[in-house]
Symmetry: C2
């Protein structure tokens, strides 16, 4: 088996310069990729982006804009962030780009993968990184580690093509219980878990947001399949119901029957 | 031996957009390259280029502009052109970028190498290609083969770094007789050869320019060392002297002594 069977989506998170959106689209077209997601662009100037997307009309036509990251990743089963490595390393793998293919093979990665690129100014933020199974680093020079956004996309898509990781015609994915859980099912699980923990008084108000990021990273690290996510969701739903019920019962002394 | 010992120069030939000059400089800086030559830029707007060269101040400061290609390559011993492969293939190797390292190893390439990128509009022209020992092709999709100039430079410099072809700190080259002849010594040889052929009435006036391109390609294909170029130059100088002398003698009947 030469490569992992993955459908790729390139996601630009809060890009500032429309020319970079167009340049990214062109790089996708150069290497036979089609799926581009643009998350909360700073200047949603699609006309200007189009001008830089020479030959990439198909990619631009299929490109989708999203107000936030989770909907851009809904059906994605493997999220990879890009980083210069300058940011404090999170507790996840930091893969040098030339080693991405062997990392994917070792992991037997399947499904739909997203490669995230942060804004020209800040890169990916901690909230974005909390969705990432691993980080990818282009091995740039220490003296000038940060790449131009369009050039970084070109180098990464070149490497995907070079390593034979791009399937001509992305596979149509049928969610299967043995396949990795998608971002949207993990988000549903996280929402349920955080509600349970709210009911349990687990969070300090001021650290709640940071704890939720950690909780998302914990859920990611479990590498759940769809079936496991479904089971865990059922368990949490039962706990949630019981706690909500008990809270109601304690506070308003309603009968169990009436709360159903 | 993992890689060939080469000092690299990136040469942009007639670039049109100053932003691409800056973006190219940034890619060089990202991958530890310093030497950039800009040949006959369409708009020599260095200030604008500087703006796109974030973090690449050293490369921009060292960048040199040339009015034409030969002086930009004077000390170069291996010239590689980049192409989308669309242009009629010349009688020289067309190397897929991922295979460049093994091509260089097989050739035992040494000295100073230049990688040429043509203008955004036309790519490299036949005159530029006549200087190239081989052509390099980024394996892009058939549906969108042409890359943005800045992105093409980034992908190529990434590959040079990936393959371990970039020496930190370019070696200082001492021309040695067993080393490959540089572009300038081949140009001197070509000038002398074309003068001899002019004296011999070898050229048709209307095909002279095209024949000179073929002659340059022929000289390149000999892969002369400095020593061989010196010997051949000496032989041609002698023939040149004799022919000029004979012509003079025939035309003006001057004595051999006085023509010396």
């Amino acid at each position: 088996m030469r490569s992992s069977r993955l459908a790729w989506r390139i996601a630009l998170v809060r890009p500032r310069n429309p020319l970079n959106i167009g340049a990214a689209a062109r790089a996708l077209a150069n290497f036979n990729l089609v799926e581009m997601a643009v998350v909360a662009p700073h200047t949603p100037a699609w006309d200007e982006a189009q001008g830089a997307a020479v030959g990439a009309e198909r990619v631009m036509a299929a490109a989708r804009a999203f107000p936030a990251l989770p909907p851009a990743l809904a059906d994605v089963t493997l999220v990879l962030g890009t980083t210069t490595g300058a940011r404090r390393t999170l507790a996840c793998d930091l893969i040098p780009l030339p080693e991405l293919a062997s990392w994917l093979r070792a992991r037997r990665a399947r499904g739909r993968a997203a490669l995230l690129f942060g804004s020209e100014k800040t890169g990916l933020l901690n909230h974005d990184l909390s969705f990432c199974h691993a980080l990818v680093r282009i091995p740039t020079a220490a003296g000038c580690p940060s790449m131009n956004l369009g050039q970084a996309v070109a180098v990464c898509t070149y490497e995907l093509a070079r390593a034979g990781l791009i399937q001509p015609g992305a596979p149509h994915l049928i969610p299967h219980r043995s396949l990795p859980a998608s971002v949207i099912s993990l988000e549903h699980l996280l929402a349920r878990a955080s509600h349970v923990l709210d009911l349990a008084g687990y969070f300090e108000p001021k650290s709640r947001a940071a704890m939720l990021l950690k909780l998302r990273r914990f859920l990611l690290s479990l590498e759940l399949t769809n079936e496991q996510a479904r089971i865990l969701g059922g368990v949490l739903a039962q706990i949630e119901w019981k706690m909500a019920h008990t809270a109601n019962a304690g506070a308003r002394t309603t009968s169990p029957e009436s709360s159903l």
